[in-house]
């Protein structure tokens, strides 16, 4: 198997390119997707033509609504909502329509739709992923490496359910090993990014990288941190989480979304409610401070930094 180092955004581009080549029902629709400011869909139009790489008006509700309609008819649209902030404009279709067809028709109707969006340190960034986890019928994906990004996007496109795919802007230019050969990653498996025995740290997207850095630092202080990259927030890979927490007895969850109502609370509930694992310390959630996210430099003081992550880990370790 030959492996090269490519960027996160190139990995996503490859996933789209390969799936469009493989299946002619796959098409891309969104704002400025032909030029593609963030480069993920750039160049696809030269290969696949204007019919399959559609520059839409700036109409988020119509982008998602029309993608649902096309998916009902057997197409596999990959809609792009330029920034996560704009998801709110398509909320009606994302919450009331896309996820409901399968159950409401007892499986007669499928909506094989992917909605890609991006978040991170930009003018239009918000972290709304937990809202979508709440709605039955949506899958929610949030990769942290080029390898995962490619394999998960390919699976999302092949999946018969609506999938929300969150791409972190800070990760676009990060490089990582990606095989030349085809592979896919199931939308139901978390990934242990670092093995450890003292404490389980569950993180998403860019926070996985911060958690890994902190884990290296704490190793020198004698704390052996296991870092689990959630990869898919829904379905949640409860098994991997339970196995790890049963081993370590300590749980810290880190995400960029606000602590209140974030995915962290859901993970804690699912882990402790049936008493399957016994925790040695109360679980700890690290998230954005509960203030509206500002643009610019203040943002970095609001989302979890290495200091707050380390502090949380030490806090659960100190509990005896």
């Amino acid at each position: 198997m030959s492996i090269r180092e490519i960027t996160f955004s190139d990995a996503l581009h490859e996933a789209l390119y390969e799936e469009m080549l493989r299946d002619e029902t796959v098409f891309v629709i969104g704002e400025d997707v032909r030029f593609s400011y963030w480069s993920v869909t750039r160049g696809l139009v030269e290969k696949f033509g204007e019919d399959r790489v559609i520059d839409s008006p700036i109409s988020e509700s119509a982008i998602v609504g029309s993608s649902i309609g096309a998916a009902l008819m057997g197409m596999r649209p990959v809609a792009e909502i330029m920034y996560a902030e704009f998801l709110t404009l398509a909320m009606n279709h994302l919450a009331n329509f896309a996820p409901c067809f399968g159950a409401r028709t007892y499986g007669e109707v499928k909506v094989p739709l992917v909605v890609r969006t991006r978040f991170g340190p930009e003018a239009h960034s918000q972290n709304y992923e937990a809202w979508f986890v709440h709605v039955p019928g949506l899958k929610v994906v949030m990769p942290s490496t080029p390898y995962d990004a490619k394999g998960l996007l390919k699976s999302a496109i092949r999946d018969d359910n609506p999938v929300l795919f969150f791409e972190h802007i800070r990760l676009y230019n990060t490089k990582g090993p990606v095989p030349e050969e085809e592979y896919v990653i199931p939308l139901s498996k978390a990934d242990i990014k670092r093995k450890g025995s003292d404490v389980t740290v569950v993180a998403t997207a860019f926070m996985v990288h911060r958690a890994l850095k902190v884990a290296e630092r704490l190793q020198k202080e004698g704390i052996d941190v296991e870092v689990i990259d959630l990869r898919t927030l829904k379905p949640l890979d409860r098994e991997t989480l339970v196995d790890s927490i049963a081993k370590t007895g300590r749980l810290v969850i880190i995400h960029e979304a606000w602590r209140t109502g974030g995915i962290g609370g859901e993970i804690v509930s699912q882990i402790i409610e049936d008493g399957e694992v016994t925790l040695k310390a109360p679980p700890c959630r690290v998230g954005a401070i509960d203030v509206p996210l500002p643009h610019g430099s203040l943002l970095d003081l609001i989302i979890p930094d290495e200091g707050r992550i380390a502090e949380a880990i030490k806090k659960v370790m100190a509990f005896s």
Binding site: T25, F27, D51, R52, I54, S56, P57, S59, S61, A62, V64, G65, S66, S67, I68, G69, A70, A71, L72, M73, G74, M75, P77, N92, H93, N96, F97, P99, C100, F101, G102, A103, R104, T105, Y106, G107, E108, V109, K110, P136, G137, K139, D160, N161, P235
Partner: protein, 316 residues
């Protein structure tokens, strides 16, 4: 285009059947959004569309449109009463009716534009024909959807079941435009404004729009002006006579223009039907709907099994 006398009689039968169905639903003590008075628009739109074409009627006219599409009254009644029954007729797979999973007005415009886009991309030749109410024209989705449909030039025919009122608010109170056509035209969508109580005019306009859409000329909007001669719901918790002084007068005027009465006049004059034939059609429709109701109400109600079944398909 010409419409044969047989087709006219057939449309008459459907209008009478829809009316009988609606009257039954209004009489059984459930809250019902009645489409009495809209039969000209409903039957004119959905009569004799190709089986492959995709349809989506709006909420008020949904039941009647499904009857025209070929759903047996028994099946429709069972589904509306929340009864367990497997008729084996699949609304999507067989009748190409876009499923209604949420009641948000206007959302169907972009969804149907996307369905029409799929038809264009796959070159299946299918046209998507939808109905929506005038109440949906001030929603963002109406405008986003029309604009997208126009710019992508998709085969979509939108009929507006224009009651000239949403709930209890008349059109001149919720928009300053005089005609929905003004908005549609501004997006480059050709528009026909017609008398929605003239079933023949509606039918011809829809068939011509479908032909154009199929030939690749893009979306068309047909504004069918009709009237809601009942309250927003039946029974209506608001007495429209108190709420809206002009209502009684308007109802009387529109009842004079009742679409069924009008077509009956045409058919009698042409000699396509006799008074006796008219009575037979009416009695047969009443009988059929009565049988459907008695059949459906005796079926067991939906229960836990259906919830479990839904759980299985949250992810398909």
């Amino acid at each position: 285009m010409t419409v044969s006398d047989d087709d006219l009689v057939q449309m008459y039968r459907y209008m009478v059947l829809c009316r009988a169905f609606e009257e039954k639903m209004c009489s059984i003590g459930r809250t019902w959004h009645s489409s009495i008075g809209n039969e000209g628009t409903i039957v004119g739109t959905f009569f004799k569309l190709s089986k492959d074409d995709v349809i989506s009627p709006h909420y008020r006219t949904n039941a009647s449109a499904l009857l025209v599409r070929g759903v047996p009254p028994k099946q429709l009644m069972a589904s509306l009463l929340g009864r367990k029954a497997d008729f084996g007729m699949k609304l999507w797979a067989e009748l190409r009716v876009l499923p209604r999973v949420a009641g948000v007005e206007g959302s169907i415009i972009p969804i149907s534009a996307g369905a029409a886009l799929a038809s264009k991309l796959k070159k299946t030749g299918q046209v998507v024909v939808i109905g929506t109410g005038d109440g949906s024209i001030c929603l963002g989705d109406f405008h986003e959807g029309l604009n997208l449909a126009a710019v992508l030039k998709v085969p979509l025919v939108i009929t507006i079941v224009n009651n000239l009122v949403y709930m209890h608010v008349p059109m001149e109170k919720y928009t300053l435009i005089k005609d929905i056509a003004d908005w549609a035209a501004s997006y480059g969508v050709p528009t026909v404004s017609i008398d929605g109580n003239d079933v023949l005019a509606v039918h011809k306009a829809v068939q011509e729009a479908v032909k154009k859409a199929r030939e690749g000329e893009g979306p068309v909007l047909i504004d069918c002006k009709t009237y809601r001669v009942t309250g927003h719901t039946v029974p209506d918790p608001i007495d429209p006579n108190l709420y809206w002084a002009r209502w009684r007068e308007e109802i009387e005027k529109w009842n004079e223009m009742d679409p069924i009465k009008r077509l009956k006049g045409v058919l009698l004059e042409k000699g396509s039907l006799t008074e006796r034939g008219v009575t037979e059609i009416y009695e047969q429709a009443r009988r059929e709907i009565e049988e459907a109701y008695n059949f459906a109400k005796n079926l067991p109600p939906l229960g836990k099994e259906e919830v479990s079944e839904m759980e299985k398909f949250v992810f398909v």
